[in-house]
Amino acid sequence: MGISHTFRFCLTGSIALVGAIIAARSTMAAERNEATVTQIINEVQLRPTGAAGKAAVLNDNVPDGTAVQTGMDSRTELTFSDQTLARLSANTVFSFNKGTRNLDLTEGAMLLQVPKGAGSAKVTTAAVTAAITGTTVIVEYHPHAYIKFISLEGTARLYLKRRWGESVLIRPGQMLITNPDAKGGLPDPVDVDLERLLKTAHLIIDFPPLGSQNLIAKESEKQQRAKSKRALIDTNLVIFGKGTLVSLTNPAQPNAAAQATAASATPRSDAVPSSTDLGTIETPPNPESTSTRLPAGNYPADNPR
C-alpha cells in the first residue's frame, strides 16, 4: 500500500517549515574580517596580538585579532565592511575574531548596530553570548560583576554558554542585567524608556546619526503609544548610565532625574542596601550640590508622575 498523497504533503510541509525556521536563523551574510576607525574622541589604542600598542588615527584599519582600547573620557567608532557599526565607550576593550563573526567585549560598554541583511553577529563575554541580527544594542560588561544588555531596535537572543537551552529574547526597549557567572539562569528582561535613553546616551548624541535611527525612533514611538495606552507605566526607578545602581527619583521633585544624573559620579554615602529583592537603591542626592553637574545633552527634567 503506497503512502497517501495527503501524508506526503503533510510530511513535506513539516520538513519545509522546520527547514525555513532553521534557514531564517542561520547566518548568511558576508564575513566582517576588518574594520575601519571612523570616529575618535580622545585616546584610542590599537593593540595587535603580540605587538606593541599604538594610538589609533582616523581611517586606521583594524584587522581581526587586534584589540581596540579606549581611555578615560574617550570613545571611538569602528565600521565593518558590511556596515556593522561598533561604538566603544570609555575604558573599553574590544576585539573581533576572524571568520567567526564573534565580537569580543572584554570589558566596558559598546553600542553595536548590525544592519538588516548583514547577517548575524555574536557578542561574546566570558559566560554570556548575545546573538543579534539586524539589531541595534547597547552592551556593558564587567567580568565577574555584571552584564547589561539593552536592545534599541530588533530582537536579540542572550544565552548562557555553559547551560544548554537557557536563553532569553530581548525585544526593543528591553534591558537585561545579569551576573556573567549566572549559574541560576538568566533573569527576565525589563522595559526601559527608549526616548530618555536616546536623549542621554553619549554613544548616540556625540556621534553622527545611526543607520538604524528611523527604526529606533519607531520603536520609541511605539513605546510612547504603549505608555499613552497605559500598557507601559513610568516608574521612579532609574539607572543613571553605566552600572546597576538603581536610583529612586522623587516624582514630586521636578528636577529629580537631572539631579540624580550626577549621582553616579558622587560617593555612595547615601546608598541604602535594602531587601534582597530590591538590591541597592540610591536616593537622589541633595539638589543644590548636583544641579551644575549635568552631562552634555542632558535629559530634561523628570515629569511628575
Binding site: 565577574h144 526601559v192 530590591l278
Partner: protein, 322 residues
C-alpha cells in the same frame, strides 16, 4: 468495528502526548514575564557582606565604579509593563511519530508512521478573578504512512467553566460539555462516531520551586449520548504529572495516568495505564518544538481488546494569544 474501536482508543493516547505539546503555551500565559518586578532587575547580583571594595576592573561593591563616562550608555528609566489578559488562543501543531501498534490489537501488531496535524481555537474569558469560561474547537487528523485505511479525523467542540480555589492550594475545578466527532480520513462530512460528553476535572498543582511542578488530578468524561452505541463509554481517569523547567526554554513533562473505560454495551470494561513523556524547547513565545512519546498498556475484561502500544516522535507547535 475493530477499526472504529482502535480509532476511538488511539485518539486519547495520542491526545495525552499532544497535551504535553500544548502545555508550554498555557505556562507562557501564566507567567507574567513582562511584569516588572524590581527583584528581577537585580537578580543574579551578589552583595558582598562587608563594606565597598574596588576591584582592579573598576567594580565597586558589585557595581561599576563611578567614572565621568557613565552617561555614555544613557539613562535607563525602568517602565512597568501592564499585562493584559488575552482570552483567545489559536494553536497549530504537527506531530510526527512512530507507533508500534496501528490497530491497537493484542496480536499481529502493525507498526507505522503517523502524522497528526492539529488546529485549535479557544476562548477563555475571565468572568471573575477565579472563574474562567472555556470555549474551544479542535480538529486533528491522523494520517498513517502505509496503513492509509486507518486515517481518521477527530473534532472536539468544548464549552465549560474553570474555577480556581487559591485557598485550597490552587485547586482547579473544571466542568463542561464536550462534543466529539470522528470521521473517516480527512473527509469532515464522513462521520462514523459522535459522542456528547460531560466532563468533570479536579487538578491540584504542587509547586516545588520556580522550576518544578507536580500535578495530581482526576478526570471523568460521562457519555450522555452517542450515535453508535458499541464504542460509547464513560472514562474515569486519575493522573499524576511532573514538569521541570531545566532552563527557561527547555521543559520536560511526564504524565502517568490510569484510565478505566466503562462501555455502555456488552459489559466491556478496559483499564489502561498510559505514560507520556515530552521534552519541549521553546524557540519563541509562540513557537516550540517537542520530542514526544507515550506508552500504553491496556487490559480488558474481554481479552480480545488487550493491547500494548508505544508512540515516539516529535512535533512542532505554534500558538498565538490575543
Amino acid at each position: 468495528m475493530t477499526r472504529i474501536c482502535f480509532k476511538i482508543l488511539s485518539a486519547p493516547i495520542i491526545y495525552a502526548a499532544m497535551m504535553s505539546i500544548f502545555a508550554p503555551g498555557s505556562f507562557a500565559q501564566g507567567r507574567s514575564s513582562q511584569d516588572v518586578d524590581r527583584a528581577q532587575l537585580l537578580q543574579g547580583q551578589t552583595q558582598p557582606p562587608f563594606g565597598p571594595s574596588v576591584t582592579p576592573e573598576g567594580i565597586e561593591d558589585g557595581h561599576a565604579a563611578a567614572s565621568p563616562n557613565d552617561a555614555d550608555i544613557g539613562q535607563q528609566e525602568i517602565l512597568k509593563r501592564v499585562t493584559e489578559y488575552q482570552p483567545f488562543t489559536a494553536s497549530l501543531a504537527c506531530p510526527i511519530f512512530y507507533t508500534s501498534n496501528v490497530a491497537l490489537t493484542r496480536s499481529g501488531e502493525l507498526s507505522d508512521v503517523v502524522i497528526a496535524p492539529v488546529a485549535g481555537v479557544f476562548y477563555d474569558p475571565r468572568i471573575t478573578k477565579t472563574l474562567y469560561g472555556h470555549f474551544g474547537a479542535r480538529e486533528q487528523v491522523f494520517y498513517y504512512g502505509d496503513n492509509t485505511a486507518f486515517d481518521f479525523g477527530s473534532l472536539d467542540v468544548e464549552a465549560g467553566l474553570s474555577y480556581l480555589l487559591p485557598q485550597f492550594h490552587n485547586l482547579i475545578l473544571r466542568g463542561g460539555y464536550d462534543f466529539n466527532r470522528l470521521t473517516f480520513d480527512d473527509r469532515l462530512g464522513d462521520e462514523f462516531f459522535s459522542n456528547h460528553g460531560l466532563i468533570f476535572n479536579a487538578e491540584l498543582p504542587f509547586q516545588f520551586s520556580r522550576a518544578q511542578q507536580l500535578l495530581v488530578g482526576v478526570y471523568t468524561n460521562i457519555s450522555v449520548g452517542a450515535d453508535h452505541q458499541s464504542p460509547r463509554r464513560n472514562d474515569y481517569d486519575g493522573y499524576l504529572g511532573y514538569s521541570v523547567n531545566l532552563t527557561r526554554a527547555f521543559t520536560i513533562d511526564a504524565v502517568g495516568r490510569v484510565v478505566a473505560r466503562d462501555y455502555h454495551q456488552n459489559g466491556r470494561t478496559d483499564v489502561s495505564e498510559i505514560l507520556s513523556l515530552a521534552a519541549t524547547y521553546r524557540l519563541t513565545n509562540w513557537c516550540w518544538v517537542s520530542a514526544i512519546s507515550s506508552f500504553a498498556h491496556s487490559d480488558s475484561n474481554q481479552d480480545v481488546f488487550d493491547y500494548n502500544v508505544a508512540n515516539v516522535g516529535g512535533a512542532i507547535a505554534l500558538s498565538a494569544k490575543f
